[in-house]
């Protein structure tokens, strides 16, 4: 009968390992595998408990998948009602707890002879090698399709641009934040000229690598309008971008 409890041992181990990996801050590659396994376990165990031994494999799998979805829904609602935040630890507690409770219940039922022992679902099911090879090739080709689509999305020509902006979020009273973000795909040199009522107040030469942001907080007393012209070097004749308070009140929130 030892072999008949393999699934219970595996699910208990998965629950323990998933919780341990989360507590130890294991790499995503590890938590991903254990997390998905832990996600599936409660559904499997509940399906074993609820379905009779005569239920066919496909139905059993569908019920297990459905119950795997139901457990976090019910668990999440229960946690929320109890005022417990839905964080990683609480999800681990719900899924791990249901798995362990399911393990115990299934173990007891099997000992009492009221549940069928574990059997590999594919028992005598034999797939000829070349059929297996065809299925394997199909999986590889389909995965290549998804990979190709991801590559296509990565190499798709996209607009290159620079963002210039004003904001008062997180600044002290009487100041405004000016920011430049380079999304041109390469390093770009800019000159930012700050004007107050049309008169030059300050200028900065900024060289930004791609995907980098430059920002500066400047005084804004609310009595005069503020304009920021961004030039893309070497062109200093036409502003590449500009922002403008168009009045004497601070923009933003």
């Amino acid at each position: 009968m030892r072999g008949s409890q393999v699934d219970i041992a595996v699910s208990a181990a998965v629950a323990a390992l998933a919780c341990g990996a989360a507590a130890a801050g294991a790499p995503v590659a590890v938590t991903m595998v254990l997390g998905i396994a832990l996600f599936a376990m409660p559904g499997y165990l509940l399906a074993q408990l609820l379905l009779g031994p005569r239920t066919a494999g496909l139905e059993r799998a569908l019920v297990a998948a459905g119950l795997a979805f139901i457990v976090p829904i019910a668990g999440g609602l229960a946690l929320y009602t109890a005022g417990v935040p839905l964080r990683r630890s609480s999800w681990l507690a719900v899924l791990g707890g249901v798995s362990l409770a399911g393990d115990v219940a299934l173990f007891l039922r099997r000992r009492a002879g009221r549940a069928a022992p574990f059997r590999w679902p594919w028992g005598k099911w034999q797939l000829p090698r070349w059929h297996a090879a065809a299925f394997g090739a199909a999986i590889v080709i389909a995965a290549c399709g998804v990979g190709l689509a991801r590559v296509g999305a990565a190499i798709q020509p996209q607009p290159r641009f620079t963002q210039l902006w004003l904001s008062t979020r997180g600044t002290s009273a009487g100041t405004v934040k000016i920011g430049v973000t380079n999304d041109e795909g390469h390093t770009v040199g800019y000159r930012l000229v700050l004007l107050s009522e049309g008169h030059k107040e300050a200028a900065w030469d900024v060289t930004l690598a791609n995907a980098h942001t430059w920002q500066r907080t400047v005084p804004f007393n609310g009595k005069r309008s503020l304009t920021a012209n961004l030039y893309r070097l070497p062109d200093l004749t036409t502003p590449y971008r500009y922002v403008d308070t168009n009045g004497d009140k601070a923009p933003g929130l």
């Binding site: 938590t31 005569r54 019920v63 839905l86 065809a134 389909a142 689509a149 296509g152 922002v243």
Partner: protein, 632 residues
């Protein structure tokens, strides 16, 4: 043996006895493995055309042809295997259904392989993000206020993200992909259980796959996708409850039915209404077929589901009523207008507008299924009139004609009819499958075929396969994405997925960081969902007036004040192209555009005193209205 399915002996060997089925399936897996291989090549071809589209060939006729060739590689072998005269085992039929479902799902994944881009998916992404960030349910979602009140999908995804470390996108793909597969396989099993034929079940699923939402709304990261899996599970459990003879077996299935029905209610409101409707129709069919047990279990579950969704609406989600009311009232008003005055108050014949070929395909498919249903009913009468669930399917399939009437005569009928397709195709697909198998069987008895059955029977099968492929192509052509975004590609003005690019995402991320959440934003259609989701802002509809007038007049200032608009996002590209969808703006867009919007209308805010220009990325500019003196 006939085309309709295996003999009773074969059924016993491959249908009810799971073990025997597995063994026999193992001996005959070649066709299914080949079908899988060809379908995988089809996925690769479609992915290649998507890549071609992204590299600038989105409007190329050859890319479009290659897309359809790839789809043919997926659908045609599946249809051929299900409709062919070769023996078909239960395992093989189920495998083929899995191949079709997974292949079409992968095609959907290949369309947006690096992140969610469809508006509705972004809405649920936002609700999921809220749960992960706050640890709480029922947080407000300005994009789709009803979504947090039905948190099933978001809870499941948040749980998987939390324990696995996957991104929301990856976890979401796993959840909805699995849910979609569960739903389709539960349909297959229910069809198989009630017809006692896995061939009929497979063909019925093939018909179901011609539902225009099969590859889109039914498999997207939206709450309906998960709720459908629960609906399928409830119906499967109801079927077992009605047929189980041992009380001990019933306990398990009853628990599963109740849990799945409750999960449906928590996950999606519309699906829970349809669940009750499905169970009521099963009750009705059972009463007609005089099956008390089936009627009792179905009505009991319908009652439980009704009580669950009524309680949920009363105690948790009262806003559901105001969300659903406009659609229901509109449909009822449309019907009333039709009955009283002969036509709806809005222009009738509100069928989807698209290329002539797509419309013709749609017409042929609708007509063909409309003609197949009576043949299926005749089959029901001849062979299944004592079977309660088949009777229920026959009764339910009448809704096919109701939906056509809605589509043709009711204002906004296309939208309603389209959304109902997910549910209407369940009975219609099954009855149509009975019809098409009966017709092909009858054809094999024609003297001209019988005279040389070995050579001529494949022709009959080929015609049936061609018809099935045509139906699925109709669903793909007239479903989502729309024909003008069938292939991904460069930015499309005020479009759908093709309006979600780096510029829009950068704007949204800047808004989230520099403005904080929940600000009322005016945007065009293309930026709407991105600003609302990645930007966590509150984009509003009915803002066309801000963009279509040459001056920012006092009356517009007043209107903006009434809508509490703080920011206006202006995309200069609106002056460069007409909107692919026909409208630039969400809500009451005037439409009927003959040329792009004048640039001066878009840039007029540059010169309005106290309207600050606070963001400039070249094509997109954001203005701050907070300084305007709303009092005038």
């Amino acid at each position: 043996m006939t085309l309709a399915g295996p003999s009773r002996g074969q059924l016993r060997a491959s249908g009810r006895d799971g073990h025997a089925a597995s063994v026999s399936a193992g001996r005959r897996l070649l066709p299914a493995s080949l079908v899988a291989l060809i379908a995988a090549v089809g996925v690769l071809v479609v992915a290649a055309t998507y890549t071609a589209g992204r590299l600038g060939y989105a409007s190329s006729p050859w890319a479009d042809s290659a897309y359809w060739f790839g789809q043919a590689l997926i659908v045609a072998p599946v249809a051929a295997r299900l409709l062919s005269r070769r023996q078909l085992g239960m395992g093989e039929a189920a495998t083929i259904v899995v191949v079709l479902t997974v292949a079409e799902y992968l095609v959907k994944v290949c369309y947006s392989p690096t992140g969610f881009t469809f508006g509705d998916e972004l809405m649920h992404w936002l609700s999921t993000t809220d749960i992960l960030q706050t640890g709480k349910l029922f947080r407000p979602n300005d994009l789709l206020p009803i979504s947090p009140l039905y948190p099933g999908l978001e809870e499941v995804t948040a749980a998987l993200v939390s324990i696995s470390g996957l991104s929301i996108f990856a976890a979401g793909l796993i959840v909805v992909g699995l849910a979609h597969l569960v739903y389709v396989l539960t349909l297959f099993l229910v069809f198989q259980l009630i017809s006692d034929s896995h061939r009929i079940a497979g063909v019925a699923v093939l018909f179901y796959a011609s539902n225009p939402l099969f590859q889109s709304f039914d498999s997207m990261f939206v709450y309906q996708t998960l709720a459908l899996a629960f609906l399928g599970l409830t119906v499967l459990a109801a079927k077992h409850l009605a047929s189980q003879k041992r009380t001990s077996d019933r306990g398990g299935w009853l628990t599963i039915a109740v849990l799945a029905a409750a999960a449906t209610v928590v996950t999606h409101n519309v699906t829970s209404y349809f669940l009750v409707a499905v169970l009521e129709i099963i009750t009705l069919g059972s009463l007609v077929a005089r099956s008390r047990s089936s009627a009792a279990w179905a009505s009991l579950l319908a009652l439980a589901a009704s009580a669950a969704f009524t309680s949920w609406i009363v105690f948790v989600a009262p806003a559901t009523l105001s969300y659903v009311q406009p659609a229901v009232t509109g449909a009822l008003q449309g019907f009333r207008d039709v009955l009283v005055g002969g036509h709806s108050s809005s222009p009738a014949m509100s069928v989807a507008v698209g290329p002539l070929g797509d419309q013709a395909l749609s017409g042929v498919a609708v007509l063909s299924i409309s003609m197949l249903l009576p043949v299926g009913w005749w089959q029901v009468w001849r062979r299944y009139r004592r079977q309660p669930w088949v009777m229920a399917m026959a009764i339910g399939s009448v809704s096919w004609y109701v939906v056509i009437a809605i589509r043709l005569f009711v204002a906004n009928g296309s939208e309603l009819a389209g959304r109902a397709g997910t549910f209407v195709y369940i009975p219609a697909g099954f009855i149509a499958a009975l019809g098409v198998i009966r017709l092909t069987d009858n054809s094999l008895r024609w003297p001209v075929i019988r005279a040389d059955v070995r050579r001529r029977a494949p022709l009959v099968v080929a015609v049936a396969v061609a018809g099935a492929v045509l139906f699925v192509f109709d669903g793909l052509a007239n479903g989502w994405p729309p024909y003008w975004e069938r292939l991904p590609g460069p930015h499309q003005v005020a479009g759908a997925e093709r309006s979600v690019g780096p510029l829009e995402i950068a704007l949204a991320q800047w808004a989230a960081e520099q403005l904080g959440p929940g600000n009322t934003f005016a945007t065009d259609d293309g930026d709407f969902a991105v600003v609302g989701s990645y930007g966590d802002q509150n984009p509003i509809a009915n803002d066309a007036y801000l963009y279509t007038s040459p001056a920012f007049t006092p009356s517009e200032v007043q209107q903006a004040a009434q809508q509490a608009i703080r920011y206006i996002a202006v995309d200069r590209r609106l002056s460069e192209a007409l909107p692919a969808s026909g409208s630039y703006f969400p809500g009451n867009d005037p439409g009927q555009y003959t040329r792009p919007l004048p640039l001066a209308d878009l840039t007029k805010f540059n010169h309005v005193r106290d309207v600050a220009r606070i963001y400039d990325s070249g094509d997109i500019v954001v203005y701050y209205l907070g300084q305007v003196d709303y009092a005038g």
